[in-house]
Amino acid sequence: MLTYFVIAPILIAVFLYLLSSHYVAKILAIVVQAIFLGFTFFLFMESREQAIITVVGGYADSIGIILRADMLSSAFVMLTAFIFLITAIYALNESWSKLYWLLIYIWQGLIIGIFLVRDFFNVFVLFEVATLIVAVLILFLRERRSVFDGLIYIMVNTVAIQFYLFGVAYIYMLTGTLNMDIAAAVISETDKSQLILPYVLIMTAIIFKCALIPLASWLPKVQGIPRAPSAVAAILSGLHVKCAVFLFLQFQFIFEPVANHDFFLGLGLLTAILSIIMAFSQDDIRLILAYSSTAQIGLIIVGLSTNNADYGSLYHIINHAIFKTSLFLTSGMLMQIYKTRDINKITGIFKHSPILGISILLSILAIIGAPLFNGNISKYFIMDDIDMWLYVVLSVVNFGTIAIFVRYAFMLFGNPKNASAVLMHKNKVVSVLLLGIFSLFTGIFGVWIMNFLFDSQLSVSVGSYIEKTAIFAVSVILAVVLCKYRYRLTKQLNYVQALDINFRGMCISIGLFFAIMLIFVGFL
């Protein structure tokens, strides 16, 4: 039954592609997506009772390929369907060829496949196909200057995934199976010294796909490609990277005996801090969003690596997908209106189009964790019950995020100088406004939704909530001051902005990361 959730989008994609009428295909695409979202909701309700397991082809589960939907994975499947529905509505008026729709639906099938499959090798296949699809979609509008970045993206992904392939070979050698659940059972009884290398090999590739800092440069490179469709950039950091984060969580469970949490805690913090500096130095709105994505992913990894903040992190994955999608989609609209991606040249969005301004404001409030918004709830639970030093560092990280987006919010005010009178398509406005309202909704009912999604028993204590709100207010004021005086740092920030890493450098950083992690896990 679960195979349908993977195969159906692909089958529908091919069917719609073969359909002769472009218009009918687009309308059908939306309808099918909406129905699909309904089905994923039923899947979620079913898996709440009991995890659903399907062996493809009905063979014995030790030799067939297994798909499993538990509460977590089906929640992510539901999120995937939701985001794809929204981005489909957003792209409805574009006059792109049917190829776009074909690829985007196949991509949906692949992402859902990664969330559901419990097989080491199938993950490799799905990731490789997804890599290629992203490359085609990112270059979809045939921006000739960007082929170089596309080439680097594909090649460096191949380098990283080969580490994964080696790791899978070792897993197969040790456990004799590729099924994650059976392998996990065998691994828990295997000698620790045998597991270190496979763990590090697999994690190197997964961390690369998560875009954590030594290996993060591919994500901003791809998202910064000048005319990459906004919907694709949105799904890339909203969902594609989250697949890797989901797998990171799974592999931490599977490799329980050797799993190292401190290393990833440090890595997540490093990623968050460095990406915030990178994001603050950029002028390109796409790159600001891209680097802030890596910062948020760092935060999620930190949350997943502390002892008791899992739920906050998992909810942050969902929230980040919602508001970052909204931000990327609105950035696409801004680029259409202002004909530039330079943050300094975009002003007066409120005056030009109030609805767009409101939806941008809602997403900004969500990402900086303003009270009542979803980012607030998930950050509250990430920072709940942790060591004092970590609390301080995370507060600084959150201050950085606020600083980035206060600067981003400056675009909303002032006079629209460079704006051109582009027709605002209703479908675009509806989709981004829907996302903005949704982030408010998931914030107000945040605790209830978390308890529903993860079957947890969480509650917010009033005292610490007020304390965090106070910290938030102070951070906002400081951030406004910082942004006002940003011009004094221009020279240093331009230096950071010009930092670039070439293909050789990326390969070296993969090797270096591998070595450091191996030493850390093996010797310490």
């Binding site: 490789e128 191949t158 380098v159 392939l165 070979a169 197969y172």
Partner: protein, 123 residues
């Protein structure tokens, strides 16, 4: 560790060395191909012994330790195809880049393409 595994790991790092020293895009792609085959050899060589039989036909009646493992073989056919597919896309992009810049050198190609991406404005 079998001899085949050792050789495959050495090959993996030989290709990695090629990747981190290569200044030419064609060479980098060739190194990627080599790295891919090293992973495949490693996978197939896990249970290698002299005179091992393929898991086909008559030899299946032999005891298990004389037969090669069929699962890695099925997996590696998939991996080979994926490798070729990625290589083909790499080459097509490279052909495009050499058209544009007349070079296959990483730094030169980058310098010539990046010079045109400086502005954040659209036409």
């Amino acid at each position: 560790m079998t001899f085949a595994q050792t050789v495959a790991i050495l090959m993996f790092f030989l290709a990695f060395f090629g990747l981190i020293t290569s200044r030419n895009i064609v060479k980098s792609i060739v190194c990627l191909v080599i790295k891919e085959t090293s992973a495949i050899v490693f996978f197939l060589g896990l249970r290698f012994r002299e005179g091992i039989l393929p898991p086909i036909g008559e030899s299946l009646s032999q005891p298990l330790e004389y037969i090669a493992d069929p699962l890695p073989q099925a997996l590696m056919i998939t991996a080979i195809i994926i490798g070729l597919a990625v290589t083909a896309v790499d080459i097509i992009m490279l052909i495009y880049l050499t058209h544009e810049t007349g070079s296959t050198d990483w730094d030169e190609v980058k310098a010539k393409t990046k010079a045109r991406v400086a502005s954040l404005d659209y036409e």
